[in-house]
């Protein structure tokens, strides 16, 4: 197996009195696409938020590119290339497309490649270039998701973590985004994907982790996981 870019060990996190994660562990190898699966409320989004620093973990370890980043604030993780495209897009709605992208490249490291990365992103999403001076709040769901991914790419990610790629989007738009992800992977970007559409996630990814009730449930190469009957149990709680 190639170099491990992101390694999570025994991650615990929660909100107030409610503990959500009870020791999540996963590994993402450089250049691969990994998916994190589980039923609603299993702790997928919480895992991603704790990994990227959007919320503070309570225990466990996050090692990124050989460095222990568990307790770093989110902006410091983003600056290192550990980048989250959050659930629900979370764009800066009263700012233009280009301003959103500029904010994506805020860190010193990303800033140096701003022009070149902007061209790259505009080539990937010509639609965004057409509308670069428009406010993102006026966009359709699919366009917003494109912008959210583009904004994540502006940060020069070593690993791009995407939460709920297809949530609320039309099937044809989901197909387009799936093609985009394939393209990203082909260009060498490492991806960790959370996706409610099980079949899509398993078709796109190389390796899959399934979690249930905040604990690891099952893992394996995506093709094998897809064939296992237990996956149903994780989703239906049977």
């Amino acid at each position: 197996m190639s170099e491990i870019l992101l390694q999570v060990e025994g991650l615990e996190a929660g909100y107030g009195d409610v503990q959500v994660l009870w020791g999540i562990s996963l590994k993402v190898a450089r250049g691969t696409m990994t998916t994190l699966l589980g039923a609603n409320g299993a702790g997928k989004t919480t895992s991603l938020r704790a990994i990227t620093g959007a919320m503070c973990p309570r225990g466990g370890k996050v090692v990124f590119a050989g460095e222990d980043v568990t307790w770093l604030p989110a902006h410091a993780k983003a600056a290192r290339g550990l980048v989250l495209v959050p659930e629900g897009r979370q764009l800066f709605n009263n700012m233009s497309v280009e301003e959103n992208l500029e904010m994506g490249a805020y860190s010193r490291r990303a800033r140096q490649h701003f022009r070149q990365q902007l061209d790259h992103v505009y080539t990937m999403f010509p639609r965004l270039k057409e509308r670069r001076n428009q406010k993102s709040g006026t966009f359709s769901g699919g366009e917003q998701q494109m912008l959210a991914i583009a904004r994540g790419l502006m940060a020069m990610p070593e690993i791009l973590i995407i939460d709920e790629l297809s949530l609320g989007l039309a099937p044809v738009v989901v197909q387009q985004l799936a093609e985009t992800l394939k393209g990203l992977k082909a260009s060498g970007v490492t991806v960790l994907l959370v996706e409610q559409n099980l079949h899509l996630a398993l078709a796109l990814s190389d390796y899959a982790y399934v979690i249930a009730e905040g604990r690891p449930f099952l893992e394996g190469p995506s093709a094998e996981v897809a064939a296992k009957p237990e996956i149903r149990q994780a989703y239906l709680g049977l």
Partner: protein, 286 residues
């Protein structure tokens, strides 16, 4: 008739300075959802900075303006870490209480230092005469500087990376953090900016009127009225709201005793809250 026009024009000039003060309040409110009850005390800090620099050190009056902007920024960052940082994201009552405490401390220090007797800084600027009416030079200069500073704020917020980061944090702090923006530093900076604006408006007010350590309250209340007129968290609206308030004051002054002016202002305040809860000049927020 010309008399009323002259009064209105003078009101507009003063109103631009009210707008500048309100910009400081509304910027902080819009970015971090904190109602800065130390706003009035900071306006007073600006007044006494003028007094100290001109009367004690003999600096030219308008030299105090850039000094106050820098000093206000530094004071604001200090106050942010002392009294605001731990209140971010907590219920609004917490930041109300802590900024009110800062207000009391600042006013207490000021009273101990300067007592509550009135101060006056003599600023000599040539007046402009027009058809027998005189427009005070200090009013014209203060309004011009207020508009220039407002313009600089606009350039900062819309055409610099750090200013865009302030807007990004105001819109969605978590998303900004995930973009690699150090949002805590941005909040401290935005608070510093807000305090600098409030302070420099105090400096400009002190070039026009006498003041005491307790003058801040009146300007704090005016800033609330302006903010309600202009819409929350909207610096451009704040300037418009300030000018509108000054215009109303100028319009009312010839017709009623000065002690009735606050009644008109706050009557308007209540009316706007009911009739235009999003502000009259609120065009930025959808």
């Amino acid at each position: 008739m010309i008399g009323i026009l002259a009064s209105v024009i003078d009101g507009i000039l003063i109103g631009a300075v009210y707008g500048l003060a309100a910009m400081g309040l509304t910027l902080i409110w819009g970015v971090m959802n904190v109602i800065n009850l130390a706003h009035g005390a900071i306006v007073v800090v600006g007044m006494f900075v003028l007094y100290m620099l001109v009367s004690a050190l003999g600096l030219p009056a308008y030299g105090a303006v850039p000094v106050m902007i820098v000093l206000g920024f530094v004071i604001g960052i200090g106050l942010y870490w002392i009294g605001v940082h731990r209140m971010i994201g907590r219920p609004e009552l917490m930041s109300l209480l802590s900024t009110f405490a800062l207000n009391m401390v600042l006013i207490g220090l000021g009273t101990a230092w300067w007592t509550t007797s009135p101060y006056n800084v003599q600023v000599n600027m040539p007046s402009v005469s027009w058809r027998g009416y005189t427009f005070t030079g200090t009013h014209i200069t203060a309004a011009a500087l207020a508009v220039v500073i407002a313009g600089l704020l606009y350039l900062l917020l819309y055409h610099t990376r750090i200013g865009k980061a302030v807007r990004a944090v105001a819109t969605n702090r978590e998303a900004a953090e995930l973009c690699g923006i150090p949002t805590t530093q941005v909040l401290a900076m935005a608070f510093g900016l807000g305090v600098a604006l409030a302070g420099v408006s105090g400096t400009l007010i002190a070039t026009m009127f006498p003041f005491t350590v307790l003058s801040g309250e009146a300007y704090q209340l005016k800033s609330f009225v302006v903010t309600v007129l202009g819409g929350l968290g909207n610096p451009a609206g704040a300037l418009m709201g300030g000018i509108a308030l000054g215009l109303i004051e100028g319009l009312a002054t010839p017709f009623m005793p000065v002690s009735w002016i606050p009644i008109v202002e706050f009557g308007l305040f209540v009316f706007c809250l009911i009739a235009f809860p999003r502000g009259i000049f609120s065009f930025t927020k959808a």
